[in-house]
Amino acid sequence: MALMTIAEALREGIREEMRRDPTVFCLGEDIGVPGGFGGAFTVTLGLSDEFGHNRILDTPISEIGIAGVAIGAAMTGMRPIADVQYGDFLFCMMDQLANQAAKMTYMSGGTVKVPLVMRAPVGSTRRGSQHAQSLEAFFTHIPGLKVLAPSTAYDAKGLLKSAIRDENPVLIFEHKLLYGSKGGRSEKGALSPIGEVPDEDYTVPIGKGAIRRVGKDVTIVGKLLTVYRALEAAEELAKEGIEAEVIDPRTLIPLDKELILESVRKTGRLVVVEEDNLTHGWGAEIAAIVAEEAFFYLDAPIKRVASLDTPPPFAPPMEAYYLPSVERVIAAVKSQF
């Protein structure tokens, strides 16, 4: 066992998989340049020392190319891990992800596989509108992609390993305030959860959620950073006698529906907390699933807590207002009683 940040856990996961399987390689911008950053959030820092620059492959600033190259390599026997510096740039490569990677197995009648991993940092961190978005809902809406959202170091490494070994395109969303990146790449306001990570090989199965806090009065579902916002809210609510159960689905596609439904059947209340903006979002989908499949267990209307329907603003007071705060989570829960 070692104590690690998420960035460190991801790095060790990549290292172990690259040692285990010579077809695994990384590509992306600024991931291995000597004297560089090791990726925007230090995840690949130092890996080129061990694996060289052919397997930690620095690319031009060409997001369509990065995605397309990963797809072509994946279809012909390699297992690429592509790194997009900021999740927002996924829009630049949208065709490759949505039309190519996601549909190749289907269009080929199941004769072709695309075992690629795309890692994308999300979350609003005082960089304005174009380096801040939470894009999960765009990609959970595309059949053919698996979508992961690890919030702990243990899950980050275990899910990354599962993703690398998976035969399908897997998108991993990572939150900038959870990485625990150090030095010049550290983030203001970061939570940087440090967690125990086993030394031996392990994986976290894709499609299994986790209960982060047990409670009987209300179910709060969060992902990435909002898991921690939910946990903070739960501690506050406990002081007033409300015991919240906090669920972290960990993988968004496929979704561990049963874990959420089971919890709601027990608590009778659901609050979904996410950093994506509200309208047509991921939270709406979770709410719809519960409304369709556990309606008669509900004691109160479902509540969604999300970012506002604006682009992410820059100035700290506006950004704080825009984001789903602990206070808004508490207010949503209280409105159900």
């Binding site: 995605a67 397309g68 072509g72 039309n99 080929s108 199941g110 004769t111």
Partner: protein, 329 residues
């Protein structure tokens, strides 16, 4: 027998090229008829007039090399060795199709013969080809990858990114631009400021070659040179094949954006007329009865393919649920 003016092509080789080109021509003509009869439910982008490109390029490839086609892929697939049966069945929407009826006309392919499922987002196949070439280099397989695209597709950002990445990493990939003068209805003069698409190669640091795309031997020979370069680790090439689509862009196209005179000029340059003339009048390598024999072989292949497609079962509606994700067999 070999004749110097044929760049050492033998009678057997030439007849093989002719057979492949004729197969594509007749396949496409049959598709058109079958579409009109309601047997083929999809739209079709036919390859009539461009046969020398796919056949010439693929003649310079190894069986394990990769080809990535476009929205007009029947010719690419046939030339790379996908069977007429499996393509025809795919067009009919039958389970015996090369993509089990999930792909249709614009996505035909068969990785077992090196033909990627064709990609109908114009230009999007280029970066994937670069990726396959990176993979070939990393695996040390010696494979070469070909991405076909039109002069229309050449203007996609994806193609630019793909060529640059292929060039900086010296990857074994050929970018083959089929310049048929039109992208749907738009003439090339409206959308390309340089005279030749191949002129752009210099900007990527790779050779740019222009070839008569209706001359199958010329296409084969420039491809061979580019393939040798690629296999030797010297990097990618851009090959521009000047050609013409002797049919409409898709199923309903009266071609009112071009003149009948221009069409007539290009009909005289029909690549099939050309190779027939080469085989008979110009070299005497084949007699008319040799050609008739090839024609009979092609007709037999197509009759069989159509019957196969016609008699094959349709998928069950709920087969739509299969293959969203990879399923281990």
């Amino acid at each position: 027998m070999t004749i110097a003016s044929l760049n050492n092509a033998t009678q057997v080789e030439l007849l093989t090229l002719y057979r492949e080109m004729l197969l594509i021509r007749r396949f496409e003509e049959q598709c058109n008829a079958l579409f009109l009869q309601g047997k083929i439910p999809s739209t079709l982008h036919l390859y009539i007039g461009q046969e020398a490109v796919a056949v010439g390029v693929c003649a310079a490839l190894r069986p394990d090399d990769y080809v990535l086609g476009t929205h007009r892929p029947h010719g690419h697939a046939l030339a790379k060795g996908v069977t007429s049966r499996s393509i025809m069945a795919e067009l009919f929407g039958k389970v015996t199709g090369c993509c089990k009826a999930k792909g249709g006309s614009m996505h035909v392919g068969d990785m077992s013969v090196g033909m990627f499922p064709a990609i109908a987002i114009v230009g999007a196949n280029a970066p994937i080809a670069t990726g396959a070439a990176l993979s070939a280099k990393m695996r040390g397989s010696g494979q070469v990858v070909v991405a076909f695209f039109g002069e229309g597709g050449a203007n996609e950002g994806a193609v630019h990114e793909a060529m640059n990445m292929a060039a900086i990493w010296k990857l074994p990939v050929l970018f083959v631009c089929e310049n048929n003068l039109y992208g749907a209805s738009t003439p090339v003069s409206q959308i390309v400021a340089v005279e030749n698409v191949a002129d752009r190669a210099v900007a990527y640091g790779m050779p740019g070659v222009i070839v008569d795309g209706n001359d199958v031997l010329a296409v084969r020979d420039v491809t061979r040179t580019a393939v040798e370069r690629a296999r030797a680790g010297e990097g990618p090439s851009l090959i521009e094949c000047k050609t013409y689509r002797l049919c409409g862009h898709s199923r309903s196209d009266a071609c009112n954006y071009r003149t009948r005179e221009e069409e007539a000029e290009w009909r005289d340059k029909d690549p099939l007329l050309r190779i027939r003339k080469l085989l008979t009048e110009e070299t005497g390598l084949a007699t008319l009865s040799d050609l008739e024999q090839v024609e009979a072989e092609v007709e037999a292949i197509l009759t069989d393919a159509i019957q196969f497609a016609d008699e094959s079962p349709e998928p069950a509606p709920e087969d739509a649920l299969l293959h969203v994700f990879w399923e281990d067999k």
